[in-house]
């Protein structure tokens, strides 16, 4: 089962890279939005909440289509980024990472928000009465206390990014070596005659990665809790 072909290995490497990049990219905004939803009262609170959760309820193909419209070569944002910064998403691995980040965003927000809500808001007030500006109070008190939730959010997001298929294939297609992740590779293999054995190998690999991610999250959470 472990004699993976070079193409299989390529897909595994791409998947891990794309999911990792997606998680790293989505985590800071997810922490920010989760904190804002948990702590602040502002006009449009409900709208932000709905927007953040939209990718969860929309058909992934629609999300991929929306990304294509916005971030494609001729999309308003895509054209801007390409012209000014040379960042291209369309049919690149970066596009796959963007699609995975957008799809995993709502999954990350929930546990992070819950852990911010669980912490006593007066702890931040205590930090400020001791001279800490709001950003310091956040960095030294609120964020460390929410760390278990942030870890759960990151692991969930990573798992989701790893398995993301619909939005990715709509946005950046399935280009071997560029955007063909494990999921896309399995799908492609199933379309070819005699691809079943190879598909099964890749499926096994994704099970191993998923279990490892879960175990890592458990271990990290236990450590975070032990420090309290």
């Amino acid at each position: 089962m472990l004699d993976l072909s070079p193409q299989d290995l390529e897909a595994v490497r791409l998947s891990l890279g794309i999911a990792g990049a997606a998680t790293l990219a989505a985590l800071p905004p997810a922490v920010f939005v989760a904190y804002a939803l948990a702590r602040w009262r502002f006009p449009g609170h409900g709208l932000v909440n709905a927007l953040a959760h939209l990718p969860l309820v929309l058909p992934p193909v629609v999300t991929g289509f929306a990304l294509l419209m916005l971030f494609g070569r001729r999309g308003p944002i895509g054209a801007l980024l390409a012209d000014w910064f040379g960042i291209v998403f369309a049919f690149r691995w970066t596009g796959a990472a963007l699609a995975a980040a957008v799809m995993s965003f709502p999954l990350m927000i929930r546990p992070i928000r819950l852990s911010f809500e669980a912490a006593d808001p007066r702890l931040a007030a205590a930090a400020r009465s001791l001279g800490a500006r709001p950003l310091w109070a956040f960095a030294l008190v609120e964020l460390p206390l929410a760390l278990p939730g942030v870890l759960v959010g990151a692991i969930l997001g990573f798992a989701k990014a790893l398995g993301e298929f619909g939005a990715t294939i709509t946005f950046v297609s399935s280009i071997p070596g560029e955007t063909r992740t494990i999921s896309a590779a399995i799908y492609a293999l199933l379309q070819t005659p005699d691809g079943d054995a190879a598909a099964l190998r890749l499926a096994g690999v994704s099970v191993v990665i998923a279990v490892a991610a879960l175990a890592a999250s458990e271990a990290l959470q236990r450590r975070a809790r032990g420090r309290e």
């Binding site: 007030a125 400020r128 001279g131």
Partner: protein, 359 residues
């Protein structure tokens, strides 16, 4: 010096008060919901007044008319919470040093060692807050606030969650902090005992309004009765020069001008202050022969009858100190006590002196 004139509204409740105080320790006193905690939060910057001015030591920290609102981190007002509110993810040492880290070096007037020693937290430094008892937590909370070198220390019912021995321990520490670190303090409390012992000025509140401001002994006896359950909190403070420890019986005999005060503990040398609860005082016309060893002589200067079965007799003891006794109206009538009568007061269960605990 604190000077303020503020209005704060939420729903049906409104806090509106104006006063100024130069006290070393100002107490804010009143029943729950009277607005005293809100006022403490306004002073520290943890709440924002709807209108008004607050100045601390001559610096304006809030002036709504001029749109001035100094955030809490710029006020240098230490805050001690009722439940200590230590940072659970940090050790005691990290908690204590938190404020110091944010204090500009030039303004670090309070040093680590004396605070740790005064508050007796040296053996706790490497522990996490969840492994501390309630009293230990509160001591760490006090140390944390002190080490930020605040120009004012606000304490919001720091002893409310503690049992009686721990309360006395914390009172002792607050007294030491007041005297050793010379930081003005504001204490929110609904305990007359705490205020009589610690404060040199008290502002009493009822329903969001300031009802009195003055020296605790004059301000509180009347006010405390209006408050539910307050009568058991009415106390008097007596001062005596250094006492003599009688080793055979393990007691300390303090020479008070009106008679010897016997404290059931070995006090360390030095002037002592003794807290006496009004309900622990019995009155007699002649020197009573009972198991009570502390018999003080004085004269009744006022009798305050209430609708309740208890009345309050104010005694001027020989030497001039005042002592309040809570006795039943029945006893007053049957024994015929009247203003001007010379009297013996048997003081039972003299409450702990401050010095025997921390020492």
């Amino acid at each position: 010096m604190i000077a303020l004139d503020v209005t704060w509204r939420r729903g049906d409740f409104s806090l509106r008060c104006a006063f100024e105080s130069r006290a070393r320790l100002l107490a804010l006193y009143g029943p729950s919901g009277a607005g005293k905690s809100t006022l403490a939060n306004l002073i520290a910057g943890l709440a924002r007044p709807d209108a008004g001015v607050i100045s601390l030591g001559g610096d304006i920290v809030v002036d709504t008319a001029q749109r001035i609102f100094l955030p809490p981190e710029k006020r240098r007002v230490g805050f001690v919470f009722q439940d200590a509110l230590l940072f659970p993810h940090l050790t005691v040492r990290q908690n204590i040093l938190f404020g110091r880290f944010f204090t500009p070096p030039a303004e670090r007037r309070v040093e680590f060692e004396p605070v740790v020693e005064t508050l007796g937290v040296a053996h706790l430094l490497d522990r996490r807050p969840r492994h501390l008892s309630g009293g230990e937590r509160q001591r760490v909370g006090l140390a944390r606030a002190l080490l930020a070198s605040p120009r004012l220390l606000v304490m919001d019912e720091p002893m409310a969650a503690l049992d009686r021995p721990r309360r006395h321990e914390i009172m002792t520490l607050i007294e030491r902090m007041r005297d050793e670190f010379a930081i003005p303090m504001v204490l929110v409390s609904h305990s007359g005992e705490e205020i009589l012992r610690l404060a040199d000025e008290v502002a009493t509140f009822s329903d969001g309004r300031l009802t009195a401001l003055g020296a605790p002994a004059e301000t509180l006896p009347g006010a405390s009765r209006a408050i539910e359950g307050g009568r058991f909190d009415v106390t008097s403070v007596l001062r005596a020069p250094s006492g003599v420890v009688e080793e055979a019986h393990g007691v300390t005999r303090l020479a008070h001008p009106s008679g010897d005060i016997v404290v059931a503990a070995r006090l360390t040398p030095g002037p002592a202050r003794v807290v006496v609860r009004a309900t622990d005082v019995a009155l007699a016309r002649s020197r009573p022969e009972t198991s009570v060893r502390t018999i003080l002589r004085g004269r009744i200067v006022s009798i305050d009858k209430t609708d309740s079965p208890l009345a309050f007799a104010r005694l001027e003891l020989v030497g001039g100190e005042m002592l309040t006794a809570a006795v039943t109206r029945l006893a007053l009538d049957e024994l015929g006590f009247a203003v001007g009568d010379d009297i013996f007061a048997a003081v039972k269960a003299v409450a702990l002196d401050e010095r025997d605990i921390g020492a």
